[in-house]
């Protein structure tokens, strides 16, 4: 085979490979949606995080605006400290309400943010004060049975 033909094919192959990596990053992955290099950190204390995991999305109005980067247990307050890395394009008021929600009945858990009306905005390293714990199925059932028993 001619040297130049071979070079051409190899060039095309390498370009196809790099294009495939680009497609994976931009079209399949979330590199265009969420760029960790431009982000700010928020924390929040939750009484119960249920099944929330690191890397779970942080959504507001259903749009992904950040990700959970760390979950720690605090021995001072005896609750969970959740660290979120937020996309710096989206900023939220100080009185934003964070709750742990479930997508669908059995889907993955995520943090839902409901914006408040405060004029001050949350900045890097701030703590979300208003949080709502995860709904835990066992507690729900337990409360339901307790209420039933009390009625009778």
């Amino acid at each position: 085979m001619q040297r130049t033909t071979m070079d051409l094919w190899v060039g095309l192959f390498v370009m196809a490979g790099i294009a495939a990596l680009m497609v994976l990053s931009l079209k399949v992955g979330n590199l265009n949606v969420y760029n960790p290099s431009q982000s700010y950190i928020l924390t929040g204390n939750f009484e119960n995080i249920g099944g929330l995991k690191v890397r779970a999305p942080v959504k507001s109005a259903g749009v992904v605006v950040g990700r959970v980067t760390d979950i720690q247990f605090s021995t001072q307050t005896y609750d969970a400290i959740v660290t979120m890395s937020m996309d710096s394009r989206f900023i939220f008021p100080k009185d934003t309400f964070a709750s742990i929600l479930t997508s669908g009945l059995l889907g993955e858990q995520y943090i839902g943010l409901a914006a408040g009306g405060d004029e001050d905005m949350l900045t890097d390293g701030d703590k979300i004060m208003k949080t709502n714990s995860a709904m835990v199925l066992e507690e729900l059932i337990g409360r339901f049975l307790f209420d039933k028993a009390a009625e009778e």
Binding site: F13, L24, K27, G29, P36, P57
Partner: protein, 265 residues
Amino acid sequence: MFRHALSAIQNIGHRVIEGMWRLGHASRFFILVLLKSGTSLRRFGLVIRELYFTGVLSLIIIVVSGLFVGMVLGLQGYETLQKYGSESAVGTLVALSLVRELGPVVAALLFASRAGSAITAEIGLMKATEQLAAMGMMAVDPVSRVVAPRFWSGVISMPLLAAIFSVMGVYGGYLVTVVFIGVDEGTYWSQMQSAVDFRFDILNGFIKSCFFGVAVTAIAVFEGYDAPPTAEGVSGATTRTVVSSSLVILGLDFILTAFMFRGVS
């Protein structure tokens, strides 16, 4: 009875020693190839020539298999997910399976049987027909002139092939679920994008395929260079390349997965 048991134990010991010796031999050869890679970098034309044989000629099998694996994943995933009413997650299922596991692993298995066996057979035959000895006599080191360019071509083409495989799979899944079954196109891509993370999924998949590329080509060049210079020797070495690189890919995949995705569901 006692004698039988003794000989069985001896047999095991013998095999273990033999295996360890071979492993050590292979590791030494691997380091030798790395040390003698200078020529490949200085004369990159040698690597480009081999990239044609390892990369370009593997494209067809990679593209076709990727497409079909994606189509099957889409079909099966849709069938199962729709029972729970979450067929919108089919894009996530296809993409995550491909990017994390199937892309790197299946592409590496195909690569081992397509390019790995060819590398072994070629080097083995060059040895059997005294071409390597002739090269040595011409004061050209066969390891740097023949082995190292093939090694690097494999290391370069493996991640690219795995990426092409995954992309073809994602579009295969798209074809079946969106075009044929009628899942909403926006849902397919947006569910996928919200679930597939660049650093955790794509980068880790890419790192995996790099590891597989090194492992498969290292095994292939070693088996070829180490093959007995006979017809049976070369065919045996080719078989060993496919078998041991497949096992190494699966074993390595388990170890890498355990490290990368531990604690991250």
